[in-house]
Symmetry: C2
Subunit: 166 residues, 2 copies
Amino acid sequence: MDTIFKRRSIRKFRNGEIDQKKIEKIIRAGMNAPSAGNEQPWHFIVIRDRGKLEAITKVHPHSSMLREAEVAILLCCDVTLEQYEGFWVQDCSAAAQNMLLETTDMGLGSVWLGVYPIKERVDGLREIFSLPENILPFAVFPVGYPGEEKKENNRFDPARIHFDTW
Amino acid sequence: MDTIFKRRSIRKFRNGEIDQKKIEKIIRAGMNAPSAGNEQPWHFIVIRDRGKLEAITKVHPHSSMLREAEVAILLCCDVTLEQYEGFWVQDCSAAAQNMLLETTDMGLGSVWLGVYPIKERVDGLREIFSLPENILPFAVFPVGYPGEEKKENNRFDPARIHFDTW
């Protein structure tokens, strides 16, 4: 699937409006991820407020590109929705990967800004977005028109493939 | 992206050979996932040995479809490759989602059989595949020609979308 190989981390953005329909398409892809027992523990905060985007850069050390991004999506988990203990991170990661692929497929760019399990980032995001106790911020995804071009990256390494045993 | 919506958990398989090139394509997709600091901590064990597939069903309670599957892939993590503490689960989950999408795109079926962090499954898999201490079994993916047809599932829930704050 071409999109899997085209997807690269985009950290520079150029101007260009991104309407809510496009953002909804990305979130829709996230929501169609598999989850343990189909528990679907995710929530999504769409961020267009420039003050909030700026505030994130103060609590997340690798997020300065949010100043250039048209919009960002904060993926959160409602831990009370978890039915299979310890699996929510996997659910949200699968949703995240779907979001990145859909973004790429639409000609937009994004990058996975890890939040959980780093305490300072979790606490910082919780404060900015007034998250209740049961909502954990998982990762932030800036979304914008790519301001950098990156070639497909071949990460294939046959040494990582084993047959029938280690 | 259609494939994201076509992907469903396939637990019934029909006969049909799956050559190594196809399996390599699935693994290649997994290896192209993003990872924290590009740490790429993953390893893949391709399992065709019927005895090993049967052995997994004894330690994993939801894996009986492995008896029907032509082949399976065990996704593992080499924890010594982790550069950003606590992020390897997210890396492997993104790889897993790429694998499921590539499998779907090829007209094959699979399902994410969670292993980590359930201790009995981790220990059981470790023994079957003689995994060294630093290698953690993460999840198993049976691969086969779908023996069941599942319609696209609309999981979209606008109540999970928020704007600029909780």
